[in-house]
């Protein structure tokens, strides 16, 4: 099974995080449905030409996040959680909002300024 994942040498993030991110994206987009079997650790390692330990780390972390389930001796599967895609989107939104709040503080914006800018951004998206 060809996974379609890839690793970027110029991406500053560690390789296991890149792998986690791409798997999350595929699940969030619905390409990898709940219950789908993931490539085995050694197969994915061979395909991406990265060490087994890197893939193991990515799978372990995804498992502790509840994104995938690993059944001993059977392999890893996309978790059967309802609305997982939604949850991942939620998480992403929270991340972006925190980043925006931090930038606003650096720029010395008041909470009102920030709220106004968010409203402006919202309107510009709606117009599209």
């Amino acid at each position: 099974m060809y996974s379609g994942l890839n690793i970027s040498q110029t991406d500053a993030r560690p390789m296991y995080l890149q792998i986690m991110e791409q798997i999350r994206q595929r699940i969030a987009a619905g390409d990898w449905a709940a219950g789908r079997e993931l490539p085995s650790i050694r197969v994915l390692a061979a395909e991406l030409r990265v060490s087994v330990i890197t893939i193991k780390r990515a799978y372990l972390d995804l498992e502790s996040e509840g994104v995938i389930v690993t059944r001993h001796g059977k392999g890893s599967f996309v978790a059967e959680v309802n609305g997982l895609a939604g949850e991942l989107q939620e998480e992403k939104l929270a991340e972006h909002l925190t980043a925006a709040a931090e930038l606003a503080r650096t720029l010395g914006l008041t909470p009102e300024d920030l709220a106004k800018r968010l409203e402006r951004a919202r309107r510009s998206v709606e117009k599209k």
Partner: protein, 296 residues
């Protein structure tokens, strides 16, 4: 029970007139790739020759697939292949002649796999060795080793002097070997990019001593560079696990090999940036720190 280590060195010492390898302890479990990294003259090739039983240690124990080396090397080597970049094939014989020669010695020779590798590496069996480029020569050596399906593959600088495309092809082949979790690879290199990518365990060696040996992820998680900006007049407290400190006015860069969130909390608002380090940066910092501690 933990599976038997494929390679095991215990407090190994080997003295030469101008160089001594000392107190070297190393484990390579099955199913793993170990990257063996050190500056030129650090003792990488000596260690590999000890592991292969080509030289005997002055003290300590060397085991390969559980067999004591160099005494039982004949048994161990049935399941071990060794390639170094200075190995020479017979210049006037063809690639195919070498394949038949190796097949006649090793009963485990996999002719189908050999044929696949010939295609993948774009080698011509009828071509005499003397006409091969450096890259083709290394590929021919690897083909002869891989097609034996050895349980342990020991490679001394396999990718040195290769172009990026050939390196990529070899790394793919190494990863393919590891699909089978009963096999293992030890490879020495000073190309830390290759090592960082495919190794499960990494061992640093310098001036005949072991600097550090652990899981790759451990290395990458433990080492950080922390940039600080101190308030005027502020003095940095004594901190544990700091292996490097460079100060420039109110800006200080710390290097730690035991990163934790506690450390960041301790440094408080002075922290400007925290950077992960590449394996190459970690390697250089480890070596300098190790030399400092050793007092040279």
């Amino acid at each position: 029970m933990t599976p038997q280590n494929h390679i095991e060195l215990r407090s190994v010492r080997k003295a030469f007139r101008y160089f001594t390898l000392d107190d070297l302890t190393l484990d390579l479990p099955p199913g793993q790739i170990m990257g063996f990294v050190g500056p030129n003259g650090a003792g990488k090739s000596t260690t590999i020759r000890l592991a292969m039983g080509l030289i005997a240690p002055d003290a300590g124990e060397v085991r390969l697939l559980g067999h004591a080396m160099p005494e039982h090397q004949a048994i161990a080597k049935r399941d071990v292949a060794f390639v170094s970049d200075d190995m020479k094939l017979f210049p006037h014989a063809t690639v195919g002649w070498h394949m038949n020669f190796i097949a006649s010695i090793y009963p485990g020779w996999d002719a189908t796999y050999a044929a696949t590798l010939v295609k993948r590496f774009n080698l011509k069996p009828e071509q005499p060795v003397k006409g091969l480029s450096h890259g083709e020569h290394v590929k021919a050596l690897l083909l002869l080793s891989l097609a034996r399906r050895p349980r342990v593959l020991i490679l001394d600088e396999p990718t040195s002097g290769l172009d990026p495309v050939a390196r990529h092809e070899l790394l793919s082949e190494f990863m393919d070997v590891l699909r089978d979790d009963s096999r293992s690879i030890l490879f020495s290199s000073h190309n830390t990019v290759d090592v960082e990518r495919i190794s499960d365990r990494i061992t640093f060696i310098d001036r005949g001593r072991l600097v550090d040996s652990r899981d790759k992820e451990d290395f990458l998680e433990r080492w950080r560079r922390i940039q600080l900006q101190l308030e005027p007049g502020a003095v940095l407290p004594e901190l544990p696990n700091i292996v490097g400190r460079v100060a420039d006015g109110s800006f200080v860069t710390l290097t730690t090999n035991r990163f934790s969130t506690a450390l960041i909390e301790q440094l408080g608002s002075a922290v400007r940036e925290v950077h992960r380090m590449s394996l190459e940066e970690i390697f250089v910092a480890s070596v300098f720190h190790h030399r400092e501690v050793a007092g040279s």
